[in-house]
Amino acid sequence: MTTNRRDFLTAAVTAAGAAMTPESHHTHDHDHQVVPSDPALRVKALESLLVEKGLVDRAALDALVDTYEHKIGPRNGARVVARAWVDPAYKSRLLADANDAIAEFGYVSRQGDRMVVLENTPKVHNMIVCTLCSCYPWAVLGLPPVWYKSAPYRSRSVIDPRGVLGEFGLDLLADVEVRVWDSTAELRYLVLPERPAGTEHLSEEQLAALVTRDSMVGVAKVSPPQPGVSS
C-alpha cells in the first residue's frame, strides 16, 4: 500500500516539479503526467473536474479564498489580545478557557477548534511551533506565513529558541524562562503578548492596532506606539 501511494505521489510531485523547470517537462514521461504540466493549469484542470463531478461548488471555493484572504487573519487575534489587556475579567476567562472566551467574538465555536492562550510576562516567554507539519491557530491568526511552515523555523525552534528569536530581532535576557509549545495535537495555541508600556491612554481599538501576528506566535514583542502616530 505504501509503495503504491508513494509511486502515485512521486508522479504527482514530479509533474509539479516539471512545471517549475520547463526543460524537464519536455523529457518527462507522459505516463506520469497526471494533469497538465504548469501547476496553475494542473490545479485549474482538477478544479474543473471536481466542479463537473459535483464534488465542489465553485462559489464555495471563491468564498473560502475570500474568507482567508480578507476576513480571517491576525486582526481577529489582535482584538482578543486587546480585550484581555483592558478587561481583567475577560483575561481570566481567556486563560482559563480560551474556547469560550474567543467564542464571545464568534471566531471559534465552543465545540470547535480547541484553543489555548499562553500569557507572556516579563519572566516567561512563550512561543509556538509545529515541528511535524504546520499547525497554526487559523481562527485567530489566519493562514500561517511561509517562514512558520519552513524547515529552518520548525527544526531549530525547539533546540535553540533563543537563537531563533534572535533572528527575529528579539534578544531575551538569560533570566527569562522560554517555553516552546510544539503543536503536536489538535490544540491551537495563541500567545497573549505583554502590553507595552506607555499605552495606558489608548482605547481597546487603538491597542488592537498595535498587536502584530508575530507577537501572537511569540517571535516578537508588541512595540509601543510610534511617537506622534497615535493620540
Binding site: V35, L46, K53, A63, C133, A185
Partner: protein, 219 residues
C-alpha cells in the same frame, strides 16, 4: 514514521526567510488548492491525520524541494483517488468518467461561516478515563512506528511532567490509516530543555508537547 517531516532538533537548515508584508497566497493556484482541499474535506472521506500522512510519505528530497501548496496538491490528489471520489483516469483525462452521475457538493457558500469555527473535528465527548494527572512525572515511549505518529523523535524516551489535561481526542496513529479513532486523553507535557538537548540548553527553558495516553508511561 521516522521521516524528514519530523525535523524538530535538526540543525543547519539555513536562516529563517522572513517576507515582509507577505500575501496570504503567493499565486492564485495556491488559493485554489487550499479551497479545494477545504471543500472536498466536507465529504468526510478522510481526516486531517490522513492528510498529514500524505505529505509525510513524499520522498524526502521532494518534501524539502517542493513548495508547501505543491505538497498539499499532491496530498489532495492522493486522497481523492484513494478514497474513491475521483479515479486516476479522470485526473489524467480531466473529465468525469462517461455515465457518472453528478453529485451534490456538501459545502455551499451559505454553510461556510458556520463550518469554519468547527474545522478540525478531533475532540470527542466520550467518557474515557485519563491515565495521567496534572503534575505527574511521565516518560515518552520509545516507539518507531512505520506509519503516522505525532510523537516526535526528539521527545522519545525523555522524561517530562504532565502540565494539563486537554480532554479526549482521536488518536492520529490509527486515525490517519482509517483504523479507528481510538479516542483518548491528550495532555500538555513539559520537558525541560536540558532533558531534551543536554547541558547546552538553558536551565530555565522547556518544550511543551501535546501527548496522547498511548505515547506515555508513568515514571
Amino acid at each position: 514514521m521516522n521521516g524528514i517531516h519530523d525535523m524538530g532538533g535538526m540543525q543547519d537548515m539555513g536562516p529563517i526567510q522572513y517576507e515582509k508584508g507577505e500575501p496570504v497566497f503567493h499565486a492564485q493556484w495556491e488559493s485554489r488548492v487550499f479551497a479545494m482541499f477545504a471543500a472536498t474535506g466536507a465529504w468526510r472521506k478522510w481526516n486531517l491525520d490522513a492528510f498529514r500522512h500524505t505529505r509525510e510519505v513524499l520522498p524526502p528530497d521532494d518534501y524539502l524541494r517542493v513548495s508547501y501548496y505543491q505538497q498539499w496538491f499532491s496530498g489532495l490528489l492522493n486522497l481523492l483517488v484513494r478514497r474513491g471520489l475521483v479515479t486516476a483516469a479522470e485526473i489524467e483525462s480531466g473529465a468525469p468518467a462517461p455515465g457518472t452521475a453528478k453529485a451534490t457538493p456538501p459545502l455551499t457558500p451559505d454553510k461556510i461561516p458556520a463550518a469554519l469555527p468547527n474545522r478540525i473535528h478531533a475532540h470527542r465527548d466520550v467518557q474515557v478515563s485519563p491515565r495521567f494527572q496534572a503534575g505527574q512525572r511521565v516518560r515518552a515511549r520509545n516507539i518507531n512506528p512505520v506509519g503516522h505518529t505525532r510523537l516526535p523523535r526528539y521527545a522519545r524516551g525523555k522524561f517530562g511532567m504532565v502540565d494539563r489535561n486537554h480532554g479526549v481526542f482521536v488518536f492520529p496513529d490509527t486515525n490517519a490509516h482509517f483504523l479507528g479513532e481510538k479516542p483518548q486523553h491528550v495532555y500538555s507535557v513539559r520537558f525541560a530543555a536540558r532533558e531534551l538537548w543536554g547541558q547546552q540548553a538553558s536551565q530555565k527553558d522547556s518544550v511543551y508537547l501535546d501527548m496522547w495516553d498511548d505515547y506515555l508511561d508513568p515514571a
